[in-house]
Symmetry: C2
Subunit: 220 residues, 2 copies
């Protein structure tokens, strides 16, 4: 579960056209949103034409789906394994890191989730996560705290994400976009990935326990 810096993905520059299309598309989708990104824009950036895109992907929607699928699939697998709260939180942080670009897309661009026909699945997933975090026999307030803990990680991660030591070479412009979106002091001032994960985990656990009399949190 310490894969915070070990990409299991294929080689970064496996220059297949389909993969290059996915990379550029993801980049532009994050930058301008799915709806506002035209196929012409993607094609121009790749030095090909729109028609060529259609040779590889039957539609704009299918291209989007191919980009978002890995994140949602893995998220689903993770949640359905039904791990205890703390392990779930750890796995989630790790998941966010490995799929950070796609996460930035679906978290910020409502329309992309809808276009990928992922609204239902993601709603169901969030519901399951909140249920698991709320613990057994939860009171209403426990649901709220579970949602807040989930949000603390998601938002905290997104804002501090620039802390990474090196930008993924496959996603050059994303770092600039993240910088604009985050708007905080320079990257050098931030904790590295491992420390970031620990901070976010502690924060989320603090939220979960913020309703109990003893607010102490066992050191993770």
């Amino acid at each position: 579960m310490q894969s915070l810096y070990t990409h299991t993905k294929a080689a970064p520059d496996a220059g297949g056209t389909k993969e290059r299309i996915q990379q550029v598309a993801l980049e532009l989708f994050v930058l301008h949103g799915y709806e506002k990104t035209s196929l012409r824009e993607i094609a121009d950036r790749l030095g090909i034409t729109k028609a060529a895109l259609y040779y590889h992907y039957a539609s704009k929607q299918e291209l989007l789906k191919s980009v978002t699928q890995p994140l949602i699939d893995e998220f689903e697998t993770m949640v359905h394994a039904d791990p205890p709260p703390e392990e779930l939180l750890r796995s989630y942080i790790d998941l966010l890191y490995r799929h950070r670009a796609v996460f930035q897309l679906v978290a910020n661009d409502h329309s992309s989730l809808a276009a990928a026909e992922l609204v239902e699945r993601s709603v169901q997933l969030r519901r399951d996560v909140v249920r698991q975090l709320a613990g057994p026999d939860p009171r209403p307030a426990d649901y709220v705290r579970a949602a807040a803990a989930f949000g603390a990680i998601s938002q905290g991660f997104m804002v501090a994400r620039r802390a990474e030591p090196a930008a993924d070479p496959a996603l050059p412009d994303l770092e600039a976009a993240a910088e604009a979106a985050a708007g905080l002091p320079g990257p050098a001032d931030y904790p590295d990935g491992a420390e970031l994960a620990r901070i976010l985990l502690d924060a989320a656990l603090a939220v979960l326990h913020s309703g109990t009399g003893s607010r102490g949190v066992p050191g993770a």
Copy 2:
């Protein structure tokens, strides 16, 4: 600061055409996103034509701006008053409640923020909020915790928002949208506004203090 249930806005049904346009536009913007909502759709829902809309608003963008302005203006005023962290958190929760529909729009629809030319201001605001929450002489980790606390409230609120005793009559369909977006047990199971505010405040404070040795939080 306890105005969680006291709307200071004008009468809910001040049926001026401009206001009715704003209400319907907000509703549809939240539901389908800014870009995907056409002026024809708004006009049809109001029983008028697109051209009539242009009599009241010079452009689609200006209509959007008129809808988002109150939230961002008030947020800015609040942050620039430079209150201490706990008061800032309280004010923020209250702000979210009073402008919940607009918040749902700008928080979920990346393109609406951009179209309203609010990206820079909101980035600056988040930066200021995080700075204030991080406290004096902050370490890098304090920034992350500040961002996580901010996120805990925002996300926690959005998920649990359905707890309101009665839906704003001006926004009938929003509740259905929120229900779909939240995907949690029935509204009746949720704390009311006052308790929700307390839970979220406690959660955010717990995050802020999750890095200190003594993790106790003074009862709010």
